[in-house]
């Protein structure tokens, strides 16, 4: 069953066509890698799917609902309930410690629960670093806090923009293992990356160039147990 569908989605910034008539279907529980060089439109597509930006034209259907027509308020509520975001730059609140960064997402969703937030950190192997500020954590640890924050409200879709872009190999493997685990549990994943190693662990690889989808193929080498 389809979780997300992009129908002829375009985004234009002045003269620049960042995304041109993109069509994409994502099934529930699917793990997709969106790949392409810098400026290919990956981040624009992610921003549109993540409700952080609106398309200039076209439709974004999420769970059967056309979210391009939603008001800003509804869109915020929708995004809060359905989507967890993971970023290359982590985007943690620097004056809040790890568990508070997770709890703030709980607060905006429903209500903060420290026990649950600590469990989310435990899931990404960071319970013992819960009281550390982002500046006291390594890049890999910050990314895991970011993932815990994305997971805390049990979203249907995890949207990750270059999640391993700032990580060393060891931390990259930790993050990919977490994604594998999430996928096994049935969470849908869209990972935007230009790193072939990260792209090749996904079920499906969508390639973008100059704002256009140039290929959309199943990854034959994908393995659940990998």
């Amino acid at each position: 069953m389809s979780l997300l569908e992009l129908k002829d989605v375009s985004k234009v910034y002045g003269e620049l066509h960042a995304l041109e008539k993109a069509n994409l279907k994502v099934d529930k529980g699917e793990w997709i890698a969106i790949m392409g060089p810098s400026g290919s439109g990956k981040s624009t597509m992610m921003n549109i799917i993540g409700c952080m930006d609106r398309p200039s034209s076209g439709q974004v259907i999420f769970d059967g609902r056309d979210i391009t027509k939603e008001s800003r308020k509804k869109l915020t509520e929708f995004h809060r309930d359905k989507i967890g975001l993971v970023f290359q730059q982590f985007h943690l609140i620097n004056y809040l410690n790890a568990v508070e960064n997770v709890m703030v997402a709980q607060y905006y969703h429903s209500m903060p629960d420290e026990k649950e937030a600590l469990e989310a950190l435990e899931r990404v192997g960071l319970k013992d670093r819960a009281r550390h500020l982002p500046s006291q954590l390594s890049g890999g640890e910050q990314q895991r806090v970011c993932i815990a924050r994305a997971l805390i409200n049990s979203p249907e879709l995890i949207l990750a923009d270059e999640p391993t872009g700032n990580l060393d190999e060891a931390n990259e493997n930790i993050v990919l293992d977490i994604f594998r685990q999430l996928h096994k549990e049935g969470t849908s994943l869209i990972v935007v990356t230009h790193d072939p190693e990260v792209g090749e662990v996904a079920q499906r690889i969508v390639r973008l160039d100059h704002g256009k989808i140039i290929s959309d193929k199943k990854n034959e080498s994908f393995s659940e147990g990998e």
Partner: protein, 402 residues
């Protein structure tokens, strides 16, 4: 809500330099607002005290009084002496065309000697005709002033037995008057019979030459005149000056107008200065909060992407600003409230201006106003920033703030 408030507090605490700078700015604004308003109100209060002290349309004193000061100084600052006019001149003044009623005042300076508790100006008034001193006394004392009673200005030190000695006799302090901010705060007031008794004792004890040839029973140091409707006080004063050679008459309006103009000018300058500083602080606050919200674009975008609605974001921004503004205002009031007393004294003594500090309730209202105005300003600025940020696309904000 508690969690959001804690998040705001953490932001404030974990950015001490930024928080201290913003707090200091609000503190400066509060000090400026509070002290500026307090000085303007004190000047206005002083002027009002002068006005209510006057009550008369024309003031008449003997020509010999000019050795002690101008009519303005004598009457408004309480700079009195022992000078008296004849019964004949009093009658002539009372008979001048346009005079409706007249009230006599008798001035006496106590001696700095064993016969007197302190050297002060004593002002005797006629309770039956007075329209200048009694209304003021009634603000502090509603009882009757009997023979032998005195009423003292706020600066006069009253012994615990409430007895003050003048020229060998003790007088009962019936009331202590409210502060006027003028020299009258150092004066003693009493009925005409009591002051005549004091004057007789003074003449006996120290044989003052001022009393030679003076009929204490029928004399006066000053006449307070009310003119009939349709008469110009200045014309009546001029008439008295022309026809009675041994007295000087002055229309009270001319006495107060110069002072009033001066005070209005100074109040105006202070108001403009306070306004200028306020506008300056407002612009600085606007710039600082605009810069801060720009610097925090990424942080706000993060709040948005983790689910904060526009309302929630606005509440966080306004909450943080409110905490900073309240802390800054509290610090500002802690500095400025104790400062307002010495500042008033300094203005009073260095500029010789009448200052009457507002009472406790007005000061409390000033404190509230000085705290609320920066609070409203800060919150409005942060609301404007919040609206601007919540209208922008989150993805763009995140890229701009990265």
């Amino acid at each position: 809500m508690k969690f959001a408030f804690n998040v705001s507090l953490k932001n404030i605490r974990r950015r001490p330099f930024r928080s201290a700078a913003l707090g200091a700015l609000v503190m400066l604004l509060t000090i400026c607002l509070f002290l500026g308003a307090e000085v303007i109100l004190s000047l206005q209060g002083g002027l009002d005290a002068y006005r209510s002290r006057l009550g008369a349309d024309v003031i008449v004193t003997p020509s010999s009084a000019s050795a002690h000061g101008s009519v303005d100084d004598i009457f408004l600052q309480g700079i009195t002496g022992n000078y008296y006019m004849s019964e004949k001149d009093i009658k002539k003044a009372a008979d001048t065309d346009g005079v409706q009623s007249i009230s006599r005042q008798f001035y006496l300076t106590s001696a700095k000697a064993g016969c007197c508790s302190a050297r002060v100006q004593i002002i005797g008034f006629e309770p039956e005709t007075d329209f200048s001193v009694l209304p003021w006394i009634k603000e502090s004392y509603s009882g009757e002033i009997r023979n032998g009673d005195i009423v003292v200005g706020s600066e006069i030190s009253v012994p615990s037995d409430r007895q003050i000695k003048f020229y060998g006799k003790k007088y009962n302090v019936a009331a202590i008057l409210g502060k006027t901010g003028t020299g009258l705060d150092n004066a003693v007031f009493t009925g005409y019979d009591t002051i005549k008794e004091m004057a007789r004792s003074a003449a006996d004890i120290i044989s003052r030459k001022e009393f030679s040839g003076v009929n204490i029973d029928n004399t006066a140091s000053a006449l307070l005149i009310r003119v009939k409707d349709g008469y110009d006080p200045q014309t009546v004063a001029d008439d008295i000056n022309i026809h009675i050679t041994k007295v000087q008459a002055k229309a009270s309006k001319s006495m107060i107008s110069g002072l009033s103009d001066g005070l209005s000018g100074i109040s105006g300058i202070i108001a403009v200065l306070v306004g200028a500083v306020w506008v300056f602080c407002f612009i600085i606050m606007l710039m600082v909060f605009a810069l801060l919200s720009n610097e925090r674009k990424k942080e706000f975008a993060v709040f948005r992407i983790i689910g904060a609605s526009g309302k929630m974001l606005t509440a966080v921004m306004a909450g943080e600003t409110a905490v900073l503004c309240l802390a800054g205002s509290a610090a500002g009031l802690l500095v400025s409230v104790p400062l307002c007393f010495p500042l008033s004294d300094m203005i009073h003594s260095s500029l010789s201006l009448p200052l009457l500090m507002p009472d406790g309730a007005v000061l409390a209202a000033l404190c509230a106003g000085a705290a609320v105005i920066p609070l409203i300003t800060g919150v409005l600025i942060s609301l404007a920033s919040a609206v601007r940020i919540t209208k922008a696309e989150t993805g763009l904000l995140l890229r701009e703030g990265a």
